[in-house]
Subunit: 311 residues, 2 copies
């Protein structure tokens, strides 16, 4: 049995789909703060759903019984929230990961696959940024909690044994997206169809990967990377600017006249990293190839989300 | 007014001495779990001592009033403890640092100097290891909590502003040492004078720095490094083996016949890193020069601790 934390969320629910497709039995644990039951409603007995917060350690311990591999995807999904409630990422990120590891230790569960993030690199001086880049000076509390979780995992393996896959995600986009720039743009256009406000100067530039490529690469690595700790950047090896995303959203909206307005400044918000560009050579060397690059990924996601959200 | 957390501890009390010597007023906060009042008893009105645990956030908030720079040295001092009580470093390290930062934010305190550790590098492939080394895969829960704290600090600066000095310590030794290999060896000899048990094969090799060089380099960096985030390895640029330390302890003990016994294996305990060797070029380039190298530092410390502990 596989355990997926945050399994009712955006990436988590796609991972559940992919695991079920491979014939696995899956237990989902989610507090449904941003996850949605409907993302899993197409599954039957092969998926067991448990509503539980990872901070509820006693319940978590029970859900760990009989698990082969933990896919730990639960987290605060909104980087910007850390600027308002400063302990969100500490609790939902770092302490939640500690609880997972302790529950694993008590139940003799030894395998963990963890969703980390390019946010850990902060404003990296090396572009594209490889897994060996240092020092890690993240500028968001979200990024800090991801490194804290990564290192809790490596320390756990070093101290108690086991096996870990750490995936440092580019921006992951696709159907069921519940947050992020594309999601925001479509909701803004829905509210005011002739005006699209972009946070920052729009020159922010990031790596985007489709959610299906993301979950397939995670599973590929679990099957093919066999060190005690396996650390990989997941992405496409290119980038797309926020300006280009705004243009694509406007194009696909089919609305004739949209005025794109920039609030200015190189960051969208405090903690926003102006440019992230992941070096994914290590991933490519394992034989995995993403099916789509950043811009195509974004256009597909825009089409899917306009369909889901409506305009 | 300067705040020193863990100011009654080994390194903390030496830092208090050095700050007072520079004419500063100092407030010490310590939970006295390993700190000792006698380490500060030679001070008068220039040092204010507050007994408080960093997990007591309400009290912590009050101690932050009127502070210019926080010197955050409090932590669980014993790396090995993490293997028994798995949340020690999470609480005393990561969550304590979060509390410090939040108390600073509320009180508009913007400067923090933080005692990190070479333990963050785990079993580094690059020797000597520079600040740019990655990926950081610590194997102890102590090391994990130090990275978690470092990145909480950089995220805080990125999100709310301020200034930070992060010091990645080599093994720091000297008078008032309350733990560590030299302290252990002397206590073992005191118990069984003709037998010295060494954990591991003794080929573990680490960088050692005297506590006076350590606190002087910290103050030097605060005065001379002016980026938003200033990250430095602190050490001597050489190493000494555990075998050599055992020999020096036996020599200085003046006991005639001591049988040194090795328990074997490359680690002293789960989470012990067999070799750490810090590249300190960045520190040296600021104009700071340690007064003693590793072996001389160790011999001086052995003499001091034999004098303190008695044989």
């Amino acid at each position: 049995m596989e355990l997926v934390t945050g399994g009712a969320g955006f990436i988590g629910s796609h991972l559940v789909d992919a695991l079920v497709e491979k014939g696995k039995k899956v237990r989902v644990i989610d507090n449904f703060s941003s996850g949605r039951m409907e993302f899993l409603s197409h599954h039957n007995d092969e998926v067991e759903i448990i509503k539980c917060d990872l901070l509820d350690f006693e319940s978590l311990k029970k859900t760990m019984q009989g698990i082969e591999t933990v896919h730990h995807l639960a987290a605060n999904p909104d980087i910007r929230l850390g600027t308002q409630v400063t302990d969100t990422d500490l609790k939902q990120g770092t302490i939640a990961t500690y609880n997972i590891l302790e529950a694993m230790r008590i139940n003799n569960v030894t395998n963990i696959s963890f969703a980390s993030s390019s946010a850990i690199y902060g404003e990296a001086e090396e572009m594209p940024t490889s897994e060996k880049y240092g020092p890690l000076l993240p500028i968001s509390l979200y990024g800090a909690s991801k490194i804290a979780s990564e290192t809790l995992i490596t320390a756990w393996i070093g101290t108690f044994g086991g096996k870990a896959w750490i995936h440092r995600f580019a921006n992951i986009v696709g159907p069921r997206g519940t947050h992020g720039v594309i999601f925001d743009f479509i909701h803004k256009l829905k509210k005011t169809p002739n005006r699209l406000e972009v946070l920052g100067d729009g020159f922010q530039e990031k790596s985007y990967m489709s959610v299906s490529d993301c979950v397939n690469s995670m599973i590929h690595l679990i099957e093919n990377a066999n060190k005690d700790v396996n650390l990989y950047n997941l992405g496409t090896g290119d980038t797309c600017s926020v300006r280009r995303i705004a243009e694509i959203v406007v194009e696909e909206s089919k609305i004739d006249q949209v005025n794109i307005e920039y609030t200015g400044g190189k960051r969208g918000w405090a903690g926003d990293v102006p440019k992230t560009f992941l070096n994914v050579n290590k991933l490519l060397e394992t034989g995995f190839k993403p099916t789509r690059m950043s811009e195509e990924t974004i256009r597909d996601c825009v089409i899917d989300l306009i369909d889901e959200i409506g305009l």
